[in-house]
């Protein structure tokens, strides 16, 4: 039941590479179906640009099912656009109205340098993950579900945190460009379950150290991250990470380097 196609004006950030300065370029997106996803709309615009012999707009995307965490885009002042709890690929053009001006920017953070146009380098997240976001010992084959009883509240917390797709919307939304929501989700997901428990206090130190080294900002608990997270990761994770970190630093024997190197 299409209500007719839309004509939109896009103001898109174009930047050749990390070393050059970028600028906004205005494009017309004409004959856009309200049933298209935001990325499909950009595909249409890009086809037009390619036909004209222009450089298409670069943007990240992969699964287009809202589960891979590859798409990004800061749309009209919101990471992943104005709707809650979805990624850009799940954002449909019916969210916008005919004739609307849409401003599209890349994630802005020193730790997320622009690769080209709207695509940013989020490998800082990978390095944080590599610093401690894993379980060092092989946990073996799948065991019987009831072999290790885990309270439901704990399991729920861990599983909810595990839904983080690492897209970086939390960093993009944060006024301080802080990565606390992402890191805390990873710390929680592993630290709360039995397999991840032994390394809980070395992991949190290692991951926070890497987070700081990457140059992310400092958390001021504004909650913008939680509001924009496509997977609705909760801010309580941040407090849990703070608690684990201070416990580790002030009261535990584990050091920061014992995690990754396995000393």
């Amino acid at each position: 039941m299409s209500t007719g196609n839309m004509n939109l004006t896009l103001k898109v950030w174009r930047q050749k590479n990390a070393d050059t300065k970028g600028a906004f370029v205005t494009y017309k997106a004409e004959g856009i179906s309200p049933d298209m996803s935001f990325l499909e709309m950009l595909d249409v615009v890009n086809e037009g640009l390619i036909h004209k012999g222009d450089e298409p707009i670069h943007f990240d995307h992969d699964c287009r099912e809202g589960i891979c965490g590859m798409c990004s885009l800061y749309i009209n002042g919101h990471p992943h656009g104005p709707k809650n709890a979805i990624t850009t690929c799940q954002l449909h053009m019916r969210t916008f109205h005919d004739g609307e001006i849409i401003v599209i920017e890349p994630w802005r953070a020193a730790a997320f340098p622009v690769i080209k146009d709207l695509a940013v380098d989020r490998s800082a997240f990978d390095r944080i993950q590599q610093a401690g976001g894993f379980v060092s010992v092989n946990t073996g084959v799948t065991i019987d579900a009831n072999a290790i009883p885990i309270p439901k509240v704990i399991a729920d917390e861990a599983f909810n945190s595990a839904t983080c797709i690492g897209c970086g919307a939390c960093v993009a939304a944060c006024k301080n460009a802080s990565a606390m929501l992402f890191v805390s989700a990873k710390v929680t997901q592993l630290g709360m379950l039995p397999q991840g428990q032994p390394e809980r206090y070395s992991r949190v130190q290692a991951m926070v150290a890497q987070m700081d080294a990457e140059g992310f900002g400092n958390c001021t608990n504004t909650g913008a991250c939680e509001a924009e997270c496509p997977k609705e990761i909760k801010m309580t994770n941040i407090s849990r990470m703070n608690n684990d970190f201070f416990s580790a630093k002030l009261f535990r024997e584990e050091g920061v380097h014992e995690h990754a190197t396995g000393e």
Binding site: A111, N176, A227, E228
Partner: protein, 259 residues
Amino acid sequence: MSEFKQTFNSSLGKKLIMALTGLFLCTFLIVHLGGNLLLFSNDDGFGFNVYANFLTHFPPIEVIAYLLYLSILVHALYALILTIKNRKARPVRYAEVNKSTATWSSKNMGLLGSILFLFLVIHMGDFWFNYKFSDKLGFKEYKTDLATGETKSGIYQASPGFEKSVSVENNVEIVRVKDLHARVASSFSNLIYVIFYVIAMFAVSFHLLHGFQSAFRTLGWVHRKYTPIVSAIGTWLFAVIIPLGFAAMPVVYYIQSLK
């Protein structure tokens, strides 16, 4: 770098210092408001002046007071350091203003804190500095008839170096003490000063509306059962009752000065 140094140099460590100094300053507000309620007692500043003398001459309180001044400076300094780091974490700003759901106060802690710092400089310069380090303040004498309990107050011409005296003559208790109350009354009869105080108390309200519960989050003390209590205390005590109580003082004194 020692491990403790590493801890307090980390992003979380710096936030821990912000949270601890902030909460310490919060506890002080309760005491400060409680004491200052003496301004509302109709005794020509007797209670208030004696209280001010006690605060500045009782050694344990002196120690805590200097810890407090240090906390204010550390809190402000770390806020500055963290803000600079946060700015560096986003060198290219967004063209479109961020519209993510977040409270106004949580996004403007720096602005609110700056207003408060300016307020503290003026406030402490006016009362604390003048009380302790200048001879601008006069003295008052309170004569209480111990039989009837009636108190009469009058100006006392003190010799240099005089602080306080309590004596009893002919069943009359004479208390001579520095008259901070007169200074408060004269400051609070200035409309611009009163308006500035009220604005500063709005800043206190919004700063603590976010700050108090945020400090608990930073400390990692978030719990399904206790967090609602923390946020209720942060909202009603620290963002409503305390700023209202403080703002009432200049307003009431100003209205009285008009008579």
